[in-house]
């Protein structure tokens, strides 16, 4: 699903956030991305979502070399990804339903199909009763779940989450992580960045560790499925 081949990212100003990163996440698998703050986790996810472009190396996503994707084509790549990022929260000028419906509206789905898909997504995150609520009236955990519903409503083949449990207490965090595991069980590839090692250990999935922009050999879960650079 995701294949990084010697990818480096140097930000304007010269800071090298990623350094020769290579790994592979097969289709339908779930993986965690760990590392201390500033290790380059968010940068790696942004490269997949085409929010940033690599300085060197190439990224193959679902068989497509992202270096060959022009800016005009970017939206169509993103439609196949569900993105849950820290700083892209809900829109507070519209109810939960409209927030979740956005990806479908953008892709031109019909009204009736939007209705049923949004309800299904809200049901999956346990917020079916909140569809008419204003997001501002929901708790932090509920808002995060609305964000997840928005990310999965159009059934993307890949889910990217950046610190999805960042502001939540451990119990809620576990709940959210289990939600991701459920999506993975029905075939969605998932890549989650988190610095919460305890939680990741508890979940026990494949892990890729970053340190100062490089992949470090992984002690938590040495694995074959996510392979670090040799």
């Amino acid at each position: 699903m995701i294949h990084f081949d010697n990818v480096s990212k140097r930000y304007p100003g010269g800071f090298e956030a990623l350094n020769q990163v290579s790994f592979r996440l097969p289709r339908g698998k779930m993986g965690y991305l760990t590392g201390h703050s500033g290790a380059g986790k968010s940068t790696l996810l942004k490269l997949i979502a085409l929010i940033e472009r690599p300085s060197r190396g190439q990224i193959i996503l679902d068989g497509i070399n992202l270096n060959h994707i022009s800016n005009r084509q970017v939206p169509y790549v993103r439609r196949n990804i569900g993105i849950i990022f820290q700083n892209h929260h809900l829109l507070y000028d519209r109810p939960v339903f409209d927030n979740v419906a956005m990806p479908l509206v953008i892709q031109g789905y019909r009204h009736r199909e939007i209705q049923s898909r949004v309800r299904a997504a809200l049901d999956q995150v346990g917020l079916l009763k909140k569809e008419k609520s204003d997001p501002i009236t929901l708790s932090g955990g509920e808002q995060q779940r609305v964000g997840i519903a928005r990310a999965i409503v159009h059934k993307p083949s890949l889910l990217l989450a950046d610190e999805p449990t960042g502001n939540l207490d451990p119990e809620l965090s576990l709940e959210i992580m289990e939600l991701f595991a459920r999506f993975n069980q029905v075939g969605t590839s998932v890549l989650i960045a988190s610095h919460d090692l305890d939680l990741i250990q508890h979940m026990g999935a494949q892990t890729l560790s970053l340190k100062d922009g490089r992949i470090v050999n992984d002690e938590i879960s040495p694995n074959e499925i996510i392979t670090g650079a040799a």
Binding site: I51, D62, P75, Y76, R78, G108, R110, K155, S157
Partner: protein
Amino acid sequence: MRKGPQYNTLITAYLIHHIRVLLSSLGHLTRQPLSTMMTMAVIAIALTLPSGLYLALNNISGLSAGWDSSTKISLFLHTSVDEKKAQTLLERLRLHNEIDHVSMISKDQGLEQFKQGSGFGSALQFLEDNPLPIVLVVQPIIDTKRPDHINQLLKELENDKLVELAQLDMQWVKRLYAMLEIAHRGIWAIGSLLGLAVLLIVGNTIRLDIQNRRSEIEVSKLIGASNAFIRRPFLYTGFWYGFTGGLLAWLLTTASLYLLAEPVEKLTLLYHSDFQLNGLSFGDTMNLIMISCSLGLLGSWLAVGRHLDEIEPS
């Protein structure tokens, strides 16, 4: 890859989407009624000024067409020319294609008029000979587009050997046409400047709108909205500004006209006149609305082009 919705479903959905965006951008405008109305009012006023001037000019041009009949060239013939020769000249001039009408004032008629007009009536009784020449009064066909053609006609008539003197009664007509010409260009200049102002107003309003909806734009881009999709509501907003601004401008122009109608009618009654104050025609109104819609669209298009690309998720 996943299957998208069916193809024909897509087309219907696309149309429905356009209509929905059109309406929702209107709804968006009504949510900030005060600033929306102020913007629309400024656009309307900016458009009312040139359309009002255009209307005024149109009416004055119509008025001056009524003055054609008072533009006359008097041909004073040599005193030696008798009525028979004058009659043949008159017949000849009637065939001239720039002349509408010719009449003759004979020596006797001239004397009669002079007696009545001058107050020297009794003194003139003592004249043995009538000293006045025969006068032909020529009424030219006025071509408002070529104000100087009258001068050419005047020269041509003066060169006739029977004519001693050709005199244009209405020199000011020519001046009026020159002034109308200047006014015409002035309206174009004012109209263009105010059109530019409308463009800037709409552009700036849309720019603020884009800034206010920054997070919505970022999220939309993140979940795969194409640029066209994101642009659309702003373009429709610009369209609505233009459309309602144009409609308001029409309303203002028409209302001003009705306010002026009565005093103008009183004024024209004091002169001759079958003069009618004309409002904006259907065509003029359509042009006004079309121009204002285009300005609204263009203004938002420029703003969107400049500012939408700056907003990227990060």
